[in-house]
């Protein structure tokens, strides 16, 4: 039973991660350090009316969520924030977990769902196709408490109109064994240019989107390449990133996509340095593995998720109730601790304890600004270049296959 449960969770995490990086149909302006110019996404969203006020609750709501985002106690009796929502609002929550962003997009198009937790590579597709409605943030109880640096971002708003409520975010960090990696690294160079120091002990994330990590490093170390956004690479820039990753491969122990697998590899010492998530470092440290995770000087890639409401929602009032509830401090603290990410609502820190929020940099805007959020590369350059075509995700996948050989 324990094993099945862990496996389900691990599998969920794997699917979730795989999905976060799926093909998107339209452009998103990636990276938080670039500002969102109006209309920069290159489309005008269809005119979908925004709800002005709340009516009576419909008695149920159909929720589409990443695994771990809407737990009702069936996976772990201690992990349950859906039941309190049902008691509080009288809306019965029908939760459907999806494994990939594509699946989420397809399911929401069937019209059977009211709210969805969308990542940056799905959110704008939903906006552009008119499948989600603008969100009236005045109806979200704790919207004011959401960290300001998560509002009006290119992946959750268009032309200053919010299309969702920020849920949580996290960064891909650099983790190392403190007893075997000396001196302590400060740069991603430790896993790229200087990776030969740790021959056969380096680990990397197993997804084409990891190419962006190499691109981010090149962006800072080889300005001649002219990389402005790690998700907007022309052929020459992609080739440079690929050759960097092929060199790195010689020193790789294994590529990971299952977070428990990485914990174990660090525990046994099969891996001593490589890319990680905050939650992995926490779990490893909890198992007395001497590991530390840092945000290198070059910054990092990461993810940011948003709750959105379907344009054809059949239970819009319960849907608003859910979006309002899930961004309250208590559920936010529970999701964040279960999933291992920074909650969007900084007030959650009062419940998680200050240590958790320090670990996840919840209110740390400087930290958040160093993150380039996962965005799907498309042939239209995301950094605004019009004189060249960029490589799309299909090419990245092909390149990733060749890197792994």
């Amino acid at each position: 039973m324990t094993i099945t449960h862990t496996r389900t969770r691990a599998l969920g995490a794997v699917l979730g991660v795989a999905a976060l990086v799926l093909v998107a149909g339209c452009g998103t302006q990636g990276g938080s350090s670039s500002s969102a110019a109006p209309g920069k996404q290159g489309f005008t969203p269809p005119d979908v009316p925004m709800q002005q006020s709340l009516g009576t609750m419909e008695g149920q709501v159909n929720i589409l969520a990443w695994p771990g985002y809407a737990e009702d106690g069936s996976n772990d009796p201690k992990v349950d924030w859906v039941t309190p929502f049902e008691k509080q609002t009288g809306c019965k929550a029908n939760v459907k977990y999806f494994g990939t962003s594509d699946e989420a997009v397809n399911l929401i198009k069937t019209g059977g769902y009211d709210v969805v937790s969308a990542s940056g590579d799905a959110s704008l597709r939903l906006v552009a196709s008119g499948d989600v409605a603008p969100v009236n943030t005045a109806l979200i109880k704790d919207y004011a408490d959401i960290e300001p640096f998560l509002k009006d971002r290119p992946w959750n708003s268009v032309n200053g109109q919010m299309y969702g409520v920020p849920h949580g975010w996290g960064a891909n960090l650099l983790m190392y064994r403190t007893d075997q990696v000396k001196p302590a690294p400060t740069s991603w160079g430790a896993v790229f240019d200087q990776s030969s120091q740790y021959q056969g002990k380096v680990t990397a994330y197993d997804s084409p989107i990891y190419i962006a990590d190499a691109a981010l490093y090149l962006m800072k170390t080889q300005p001649d390449l002219g990389i402005k956004d790690p998700y907007a690479l022309d052929q020459k820039q992609l080739d440079a990133a690929v050759s960097l990753l092929k060199d790195q491969r010689k020193n790789i122990n294994e590529y990971w996509s299952d977070y428990l697998k990485e914990v174990q590899a660090f525990k046994t010492g099969d891996s001593v340095i490589g890319t990680t998530w905050e939650v992995i470092q926490q779990v490893a440290a909890g198992e007395k593995v001497p590991v530390k995770a840092i945000l290198p000087t070059e910054g990092a890639t990461g993810w940011s998720d948003t709750w959105m409401i379907a344009a054809k929602a059949q239970h819009p009032n319960c849907a608003y109730a859910w979006m309002s509830y899930i961004t309250e401090p208590k559920p936010q603290s529970e999701v964040a601790q279960y999933f291992g990410e920074a909650p969007a609502n900084g007030q959650a820190c009062k419940l998680t304890g200050a240590a958790f929020c320090r670990d996840y940099h919840v209110t740390d805007q400087k930290f958040a600004n160093k993150i380039w959020y996962w965005t799907t590369p498309i042939s239209q350059c995301l950094d605004g270049r019009t004189d060249t075509t960029c490589t799309d995700y299909g090419q990245w996948t092909q390149a990733w296959t060749e890197i792994k050989g």
């Binding site: 496996r7 149909g25 990939t100 294994e254 697998k261 174990q264 990245w396 092909q398």
Partner: protein, 300 residues
């Protein structure tokens, strides 16, 4: 299939006569009996394969990732021209063949002992012992191997006094894990095949002056060969299609299954994934044809 639906129709139209009609025509009874499995085989299995093949001849819109139904051999051209696919295909076939050989070598003596040497009681216990690992989840077993081949794991610990190290994550670990996972699928057919051989054959061979090695070579092996082939079909095709064990113990290596998964799930390029899926399919069909030429399939 067409015939059976045609014959099934009158039976529906004239319900009172049905019982007697069924009673009289054994052909109709057979047809009705075979209809559901044939539909299953035809629709769920062969039609799915046909759909796979048709999809592999389509292409994909780069921008929207939608499938475009334009006939093209472009996917196959890519498979041919991009060297990495060839490397991975040969690596996968090589691993599948190696796993099959290892399993055959391990399974044969075990099956022979179970079928011909062990007492009745021991025989039953051994069958349970062979079947037991199949009760545990695939993932549990794969992760157990991950723990064993890790640094400071069981293999390291046992090998240390002899100056040996664990092979670490990689192709060797993948081969060992797959050979372990599929071993019961090799033991059981060989055991079943050998059990049917009458003991008198062994006695006759001995009476005619053959030593045990000659008996093994001239009597047991030819009789067991079809069973080994049956087992090898399991181990070979299961290894060709596996992509999970390699992500657990394979370190940085990838097999065909991983590439197919990547194209299908990560890149959402169904046509290319379908074209890639044809490679293991073709490998297995070729393997079956080769085995048929040996005549082994006629006796299974």
């Amino acid at each position: 299939m067409v015939d059976s639906t045609a014959t099934a129709d009158p039976a529906h139209e004239t319900p009172p006569a049905r019982g007697s009609l069924l009673g009289r025509s054994s052909g109709l009874r057979t047809a009705l009996l075979l209809l559901p499995p044939m539909l299953w085989l035809g629709v769920a299995y062969l039609a799915a394969l046909a759909a796979l093949f048709v999809t592999s001849l389509w292409t994909q819109n780069d921008f929207t990732a939608a499938i475009e139904r334009i006939w093209t051999f472009d996917n196959y051209r890519q498979l041919w021209e991009i060297p990495v696919y060839r490397t991975i295909a040969f690596r996968t076939i090589g691993i599948a063949a190696l796993v099959t050989v290892i399993d055959a070598l391990l399974a044969f003596p075990i099956a022979l002992y179970m079928a011909k040497v062990a007492s009745h009681r021991a025989q039953r216990l051994l069958v349970i012992a062979v079947l037991m690992p199949l009760w545990a989840s695939y993932l549990v077993k794969a992760y157990a191997w991950r723990g064993m081949v890790s640094q400071g794991g069981l293999i390291d610990w046992i090998g240390k006094p002899f100056g040996l190290h664990s092979p670490g994550y990689g192709l060797v670990a993948t081969t060992i894990t797959l050979a372990y996972l599929w071993l019961p699928y090799m033991i059981l057919p060989i055991y079943a095949g050998l059990e049917r051989v009458p003991d008198s054959l062994f006695e006759a061979s001995g009476d005619l002056g053959a030593g045990s090695f000659t008996t093994l070579r001239r009597i047991v092996l030819p009789i067991a060969f079809p069973a080994v082939v049956a087992g090898s079909i399991f181990t070979f095709s299961l290894s060709m299609g596996d992509y999970i064990a390699v992500t657990i113990v394979g370190g940085k290596t990838q097999l065909l299954g991983n590439v197919i998964y990547g194209q299908l799930v990560t890149a959402n390029n169904q046509p290319l994934a379908a074209a890639l899926s044809i490679i293991p399919l073709a490998a297995i069909i070729l393997y079956l044809l080769a085995m048929r030429r040996t005549g082994a399939l006629e006796n299974v």
